[in-house]
Structures are given as structure tokens and as C-alpha cells.
Amino acid sequence: MAEISEAPDSDSSKLFGSDSKAPQRPDSEPEFDPKLMRKTKPGLKRLFLTFSVLFSFLLGFPFLWKSVEIYRSPLPFREIDSLSTQLRSDTLLFPLHFHALFVGFDSDPDRLRWSILSEITKLTSQNPKCSDNYTLSVTVDLGSRCLRGRTSSPHSSSYQCGSVTGGDFVQNDDVAVDERLASVFGGKNNEYSMAVVKGVSERAVVGKYRHAWMVVGDGSDVEMAVVKVAEVLIKVFINGGREEGLIRNEFMPVGADGKIVLSFNLLNADPHDWVYDWDFEKIDDTLLTPMIEALGPVANISVESQVLYHTPKASFSYWNQKLESYVFSTKDLPFFVNSNEWHLDTSIAAGGRSKILQFAVYVPSAKECPLLLQLPNGEISKTNGFISPDLENMFEVFIGQFRQLFGFKSLNVYTGASGDWNLLPSERGFTEWELDVLSRQHTCFNLHSCATTLGSLSRLVQSLPRMIIKDEIGKQVKLSLEAAKLALSNASSGVYESSAASSSQARSLAEDAFFHPSIMSVSYYSFEHCFAVYSPFFLPVSMHVVLAALRELRRYKQEKAKYLAWKAKANTAT
């Protein structure tokens, strides 16, 4: 049935659009097969329509991509890595210069220098993190002239011949001698001087500034003096007179933001018996302010004080008839601090990452008065019971405890392997050479801590590719790296104070960046989650559009082929 078979053809061709005319059953042209040929060129409208839809889809894709993009501030990963490797590989070197002066000895300065250096190398322990690069120069003062030894340092000794004589040391006033030597030696940053004098009474003293002196008797050997000199240079001037184990090495009294808050608390156990108060302002101005100023490069210290009432202690004491007082032992000390009743940590000035050091003075109730602490060896502690009502004595103990936190002992004697040295104390709580030790130690610690923190941060950021990194974090990291570079350059040129301050700034910025509250992995979704959210919207529609475009393209190609076939046939016919 020809018509019926025709009808679907014409119908289907009408469906496809107006531009393909229904092929007539040609009588005139032979071999025209509508299935394989067509007379007119296929139009582009359909193709244009579908492709424009596809194109608009594709055009929208970059906008979509941009809208789901997460903002990540670019962090300088390479610089962070280079800082870590720099600190790890070449250990931080602090340049130091030692100057040894021998008065009244008739020895060759070069030989003395050599023997001091050999003693020093015996004593130096390898500190893996930060070490010191020292140079030594020796001068022998013979009264009339001076013999200066060879020295490897570029420092020219500013010592004038004859400035120090044996007569300076005759009187036993250490403080006066100290001042005299300070005017002679100068005591510049990172230069330490040592004077060995032949005299009458033997004495070995380390001054408040950056020098020490030793008076040896007539009959003593210069070799003994050399050993003592080496010991004081290394153990005292470089290591600060500390030993291992006094305070844990990892404990740093300075908080992560470079601040310390000193909190002084006066605790009245039972106000019904008696109530004590103190004039803290006066103490603060006179005693604490110089110390806080001296420690400026190392930490930014602020002071608070409070008086508390009704603060009983949690442990017990017993009456000792012989001592006529109540005694409790160090066994009870861990329970002494009654955290429940003593509300010490009420500072509002301290930030989240500062360290608060609490100093508490406990006034016992009448039932337990007087109260003494008994040490494990049976002695009574000298530093806790005060009969004399002096606030100064009490604050001396405070300063002793504060120094202990930094690792310094407060006994005025350093007992070394080759003899004792008297250590002169300073009104500022720390002597200059102690401050140098602190600056060096803190610079070393801060720089290493900064490098590890930045390394951890970069690893963390790289492991979470979909976490937002705010601009603030990028800025903090950049500033931290700059401060660290500054600290390194200052340290290698020997300017300790500014290097300590820069290193503390570097560390605090690195900690701020690492502890930024927006870095929480829980809040960010993985890429799979994002895909799972968006694909139900876009995948079905895009699939249809793409399929339609492909289909139209294929149809166009077919129609074009048909037309070309017809054309070829027509050409061959004519």
C-alpha cells in the first residue's frame, strides 16, 4: 500500500521542520531515493538551536565553578620549608668574644691562649640546636708593658695597659671592684672579660655585668688559673650556671604570645583570726619594675595582684614540740594547693595563650600558727617561715622562685669542678650575663618553635584542600617569616636583645596563624561531598542537552550526505 507507506515518510519529514520539503515521488528524475538523497541543502536552524543551548550551558559552567570555589590565601610554602631546613642543618651560631687578662704573671699570652682553648674544648658539650661560636684573646699585663696574644677575632681589644693592677683588689669590697672593672672593660654586648690577678687573698667573683675576676695567691700555678678561667667562661657565661634537672628542660615560662602575667596573691586562711593586706603598688614600683624592664627583650611581663579571704589549705600539719610550731612535710606539698577553694586564675587581662605565673603568700589561721615546712632531709626550710615582718624578704623569695623558673639558682655561690665562684647579685633581679644567656636560649627556642609551627601549619593546610584560608592567616605567616629572618641575622651578628625580641614576635605570629579559629577540619566538606550535592542538579539536564546536540549533529551529517549524494547523481546525469 503505497500511500500508507508514503504517509509516515511525509509525516515524519513534516515533523522535522519546514525546511525539508517533502520529497515528491519524482517522475522526471530517475533514481531519486528519498531515503538516501535530498534535493535541498539541509538547514542549519536546528543545529543552531541545539548548539546554542549547549553553548549557553558551557558558558555558565565557569560561573558555577567560580561560585563554588573556596578562597585560599596563598601561603609561602617554599619559604617555610627553607626556614626549617636552614634551622635544622646549620645550627644557629651565636658569636661570642672572650677576653682574658692576666696581671702580675710572666707568661706567654699565646701559650696561655692555647691552654685555655684546650680546656674549653674539654668542657663544651654539643648542643644540637644552638651553639656558640666563640673567639678568645689573651692579654698579659706586666705593669710596664702589655703582651697581647694573637687573636682570631676582628675585635681589637680596647684594654689600656696598666688600667688594672693588683692594688685594686686589696680591699674586699666586691661591688666596688665590680664597678671599677666595668669602667675598664666596657662590657659591650657579647664580649666577656676575665681578669686573673696575683694577689694576697684568694677570691673568685663573677660580677654583675659581663666580667669576672680571680685573685690567686703567690704560690699558685698559672695552669690552675687556666682551668678555672675555662670553667667560668663555659659553665657560667655561656650556660648560665645551670645544671640539668633543676627544672624540666622543656618548660618555658614565657607564653606562646610572648607574654607573662605575674599574679601575686595574698591568701588569708581564716579572716576571723586576722586579716593581712599589703601595699602592692609601692613594691611594684620599686622592686618589680626594674626587673620587668630588664626582661623586656625576653618577655612582655605584666603584673596583677589580689588579696583573697577564706582560703584554707587542703593538707594537714602536726604540732612539733621541739620546734614549737606546726610542721608539715614536702610529702603534703602536692596537696597543699587547694584548687577548689583558692580561686587564683581570675585574670581578665591575660589572653588565651599567655602564661600566668601565680605567686601565693599563705597566711595560716590561728590554729596552725606558726607553720613550717620540713624538707625530706629533716631540716626546716629557710625560705618559707618569716619572723621578720619584711615585705622585702618575701619578695626576695619571690624573685628567687621566678629565677628558678628560668633555670637560675639564687645561691650566691657557683660551685664548679675546680673551685667556687661568688656570684654578685643585681638589683634588677638578673645580671647582664644572665640576661644574655636568657636572650640566647629564648632566641634559639623561639626560632625552632616558630619553624616547627609553620611547618605543621603548611602540612595541615596542604592536607585539607577544601579548607578556606583567610587573608589574615597569610599575612601572619608572612610577618612571622620576616621576623624570623630578622632574628637570624641579628643573632649571627651578636645583637642578642633585638634578636630575642624578633624571635619572640616570630613565634607569637606563627602561633596566632596556627591557632586561628577558622582552621577546623570538621567544618569543611570533602570534594566528594560537593560533587554529591551538585550532580543531581546538573547531571540529568546536561546529559539531555549534550545528547540532543549530538543527535542533531548526526542528523545534520546524514542530511548533508544525502544532499551530496543527490548532487553527485545530478551531476553525473547532466
Binding site: E250, G385, L547
Partner: protein
Amino acid sequence: MACNTRNKYPAQVFNNENHRLNLYGDNVEVDYRGYEVTVENFLRVLTGRHETAVPRSKRLLSDEGSHILLYMTGHGGDEFLKFQDSEELQSHDLADAVKQMKEKHRFKELLIMVDTCQAATLFNQLQSPGVLAIGSSMKGENSYSHHLDSDVGVSVVDRFTYYTLAFFERLNIYDNASLSSLFSSYNPSLLMSTAYYRKDLYKRRLEEVPVTNFFGSVMETIHTDAAYKALSRRNSGRFEDEMSLDQSVHHIERRMLIKVNDGYEIHDINPEGEEGASKCPWSTFRNKFQKAENVDSLVNYGLVAMIPLLVISTWLVQ
């Protein structure tokens, strides 16, 4: 819990039927309660990433020498712990937080005690050294509550917690009980589950570690031998004595170093008498699903059915 309107004893939570001990008593400080107890806040406390305005009392102020006790109790399951009926703490999140803490030296030693169903799975993913962890039950086991307080209407304490408390009640202040005695005091038949602990990351031997290492806020003390006598050289008549001070111990407050020795406890919301015996969600969940339709497979079928629909529609248009 204490301030829940359904609590018959407002502001009081007891751990025993006899109501002897009020857990919200005078000396207890609860830092996070109610809606603040979320996974995010918990991880923020551990890692230290707070907003700047968060007060110090809500932060974990630990440093490189601190010993931290982390005690978690509630509902849990395979590698997760339930928070607030709406979210979960996953084991890998916890392990990640502990790793970051260790990198920043926020603790020296950490003891994690978990009392939930399948508790031992929660610390499966830990890798950081210095961590000791014990869970009340192993994978596939449930943990049970101890007894029901018919006055209040809920179970007041879980078995693992009950026996832990019983252990500590037996000690006096000078006892030197070790962690191994604590861990071996758990009897599987009494707990009705196996308490499992993990000590591969903890270097010290458990027999040598006293329980006061983590419990009881017991501090290490160092005596100061001498005062720094620089100031007495100046004229000492400077200060009039304003008081006669018979002082006692000067001891530097090293509280903030080892303060977190004792209970840093997350007060989670206890289940409200959920059928008493088992408190695991998965079994109830599964039951519900088996009764109703299987929603998952329905969704899968729907997706698969879309493909032939697409094919058919394409063919039709052609």
C-alpha cells in the same frame, strides 16, 4: 541534665541511688553544658583553636608538661561517639585532634577513658606517642548501665564508671596505687563487657605509673632553696612593716602546668532511660528499618529505573 525541666532534683545530679554524692556540688566547675557540648567545641578545646573572646576558664590551658585525663561517656558505636542526639565524633577526628595536640606540645601524657558501647573502637586510629587509652567494651560488645534510680527515673551510672569510682573510693590520700592495678580491677563478668586498653603508644610501664599521674590534681613540687638577696643590700628601712607576717609555704603556683591532671570531663547528656539495658543505637535503628521499607534499596531502584526511561524517551523522539 541538672537543669533539665524533667529533673526532679533541680541542679543536682547523683551518681548513686543513695543520693550521697551530688556531682554538681559546691566544688564542681562545669565549663561546657547544654547546647555548647558539640563536636566542634570539643575539638576546639582539644586543639586550642578558640575565638579570641573565649575566656580562659573555657580553654584547655595545658603545656608541654601536662598530663591530661579525657573521660567520655554516653552512647557510641563502631568508631564513633554520639553527641547531643544529632552528631557524632568519629575516631579519625579524635585521632587527628590528638595528633595536632602532640605537634603543638599540648600534653606530655594523655589518658583517654571511654565508656560507651564498642568503646575500644573509638581510639583505633590513634598514632601519637604518650597516649594511653582504655575503653569499657570491645568491638561488637555493649556497655551497660549499673542500676536504675527509681526515684529520679533514669539509670544513674554506667558499670564501667561505677567500678572506676569504687576503685578510687577505696584509696586514701597517700596510697600509691598504680594504673595497672586500676586496669586490672575491672572484672569482665561484673562489667558484662571486656574492658580493653591500648598501651602501645605509652612508653612507661603501667606498674610504675601512679594513678595520681592523671587523677586528683596532684602536682610535682620543687623547693626553692634560697632567696635572691640583692635587695637587702639597699637600705632595708625602706618599708615600714605593715604586717607581721608568719608566712607559710612559698610555692610557685605551678597549677597551670599540671592543672589538667584531673578530671577534664566532658559532661555529655546521659540517656533518658532508654529501655534500661542496652544503650546502643544501632540495634534499634536496624530493627526499625526491617519493620519499615528499606529506604536505601528503594532509592537505588529509582536511580536505576531512570536509565531505561531516558533510553525510551530518546528512542521515542527519533
